[in-house]
Amino acid sequence: MHDPIRAGLAAGWKHIDASTLGKGQTVEADVVIVGSGAGGGVTADILSDAGLRVILVEEGPLRSSTDFRMRESDAYPELYQDSAARKTADKAINILQGRCVGGSTTVNWTSSFRTPPEVLAYWQRHFGLRQLSVESLSSWFAVMEHKLWVRPWETPPNQNNKVLAAGAEKLGIPIGAIKRNVKGCWNLGYCGMGCPTNAKQSMLVTTIPAALNRGATLYTRLRAERLRFSGGRINALDCQALRPDGIHPSGKRVQLRARHFVVAAGAIGSPALLLRSGVPDPHRLLGKRTFLHPVVISSALMPERVDAYAGAPQTLYSDFFLQQAAIDGPLGFKLETPPLHPVLYATTLQGFGAAHVALMREFTRVNVILALLRDGFHPESQGGQVRLGRDGLPLLDYPLGDVIWEAARRALLAMAEIQFAAGARAVTPVHETAPLYSSWAQAKKGIAELPLKPLLCRIVSAHVMGGCGMADTPQRGVVDHRGRHFWLGNLSVHDGSLFPTSLGANPQLSIYGLVARNAALLAAELSGRPPPLIP
């Protein structure tokens, strides 16, 4: 299998693994970009294309298809934040987030949705973001869809997705097909462990190689520690090199100087960097309104094999339950399916001993449906808050209040009903005291009475958003519609932390489209060329 990353390195890409640095260094460029995920990758591509000298800073390692062996034991410690066990401060929510070159785009399940029109309308109404509309963003989405091969997925869905479709169809619930950013996908089903065939058009194989081919510099195992500013401008970024284990600081320091700084470290990392740096935040908005699309999970035993580890993981969805009330009413939810692999499933599944073994023995017959709750619109859904813990490392508080649990219960009911309609022999919500229900009638009664509380009902998240929200004024946002910081002239935020609410859809394409627009505006400004013609 051709490995474009190893080929690029052999051809002389400027990649510096900071864990190998013998001494500290100071380097200068036009733009420093912190983070190499959806936001950082697109920004590096567009700025380098405008002739700007770019440095990309990534805390995780550079790994590529040769390393992607489809094993959870390799992938989680190498490619994810906290070995795929990142958690909210109270441990009630497990967060899947990438930590490698390409960020979460290297390990995501390829689901691609444009920002829903009702979300953009809400941002216009409540955050004054009149520049961001379906019309004004459509060209940017089209550009990124083209670049990243976002297309309808023509291969028949795997059995896990078919269960969702079969149950929903029986109940008259409409289902849609998910577009995927893949080119020549082999339908293996191991997207979450890094694509072994380079079919997934993640930042790792698209924008970042493009930027490196133009002479950009990529630092890995380098942790952005603090932005230095004076007189309303950032002068430098202080970074700590990590040891080869990627965990302990090595003691070597790197200082990066530039005309402009782009923060794209994800919606936990970006607010944390700005908090550590002590950037002006007179309205105390930084790190607040962090959204997660909190996910509840329903597991079903089907009569036939499902083999949910095989085949493209997420190909069908339903937005039916997002459309049952006003966007700021009781929380709606999106239904999707996840891939199941032994570690991911066994750790997520409740219980231990004989009960756990009994469910694991049925591993190949298990169907799982996820409900992603659309947080951040209901007046009582204010999301979480990123703050700094010991050593300045980020902590996320995310209170799980009544509006979340009310929606979680509806979602667990809806998923169980769909699974029984699809022919499930038994269904269990992933919840510490939930039994295995053997009929819809039993599940309906049981779930209605289930105590829904943190750490009893398993909540996970793969979508961290907000914390540096956009708005028209500094009273209600950290940055403007272009991602420009309201107080520091040469600072931009280019990642999911921009979103003033959640999206009700998997976020990668929303980040690609919005960041492509903002990076193009920034490139024009910094290079002195005319701004792009697309609105």
Binding site: M1, R69, M70, R71, E72, S73, Y76, P77, Q81, D82, S83, A85, R86, D90, K91, A92, W186, L188, Y190, P196, R243, D245, I247, H248, Y309, P342, V343, Y345, A346, T347, L349, F352, G353, A354, H356, V357, A358, M360, R361, F363, T364, G389, R390, D391, L393, E432, T433, P454, L455, L456
Partner: protein, 167 residues
């Protein structure tokens, strides 16, 4: 009561923790688990994985030891903040007062029965104290993660492993 229990956890055993775990934080890429920690984890694995493990005997002990190795590897790959928290938890559990008061297990870990350990895990699992519930979750995830990460556990769940032969 909740506050005082929490304070107990945070400060009451701090002296002992400091002694037992002074090496933890500075370990490069994690450190080997202490004998006490291995015994504690072996007892926990015996209960968590009961039914997945073969009956008592040499093979069971070998598989438990492999799983404890896997847990050590996992911990070494976690962030420093997580390693610190797990170090605190293990530090409490290996000390007799922590084991007796918090876990309610009267006998040393190597003598505790699967039933006794299961009762302790169940009590933490549904505890009113979020701290203990969260700790149960960590022990659950570490043990099952280490178990099902190993290809030799896949046959029992009919998982064929990643596709082979195409590359």
């Amino acid at each position: 009561m909740i506050v005082s229990r929490r304070q107990f956890i945070r400060t009451g055993v701090a002296g002992g923790l400091l002694l037992a775990f002074s090496g933890w934080l500075n370990a490069a890429g994690g450190r080997p688990l202490s004998a006490g920690e291995r015994e504690m984890l072996a007892a926990l694995c015996g209960a968590l994985l009961d039914g997945a493990l073969p009956p008592a005997g040499e093979e069971r002990s070998r598989l438990v030891a492999l799983t404890v190795d896997g847990i050590a590897t996992t911990i070494a790959g976690l962030s420093l903040a997580s390693q610190r928290e797990i170090g605190e938890l293990f530090g409490l559990l290996v000390l007799a007062p922590g084991r007796m008061v918090l876990a309610g297990v009267s006998r040393p870990w190597r003598e505790a029965t699967v039933g006794e350990v299961s009762d302790f895990l169940q009590s933490w699992r549904t505890s009113r104290l979020a701290l203990l519930q969260g700790a149960y979750g960590a022990l659950h995830d570490l043990s099952f993660g280490a178990w099902y990460a190993r290809p030799d556990t896949w046959e029992a769940i009919a998982y064929p492993g990643p596709p082979r032969g195409y590359f």
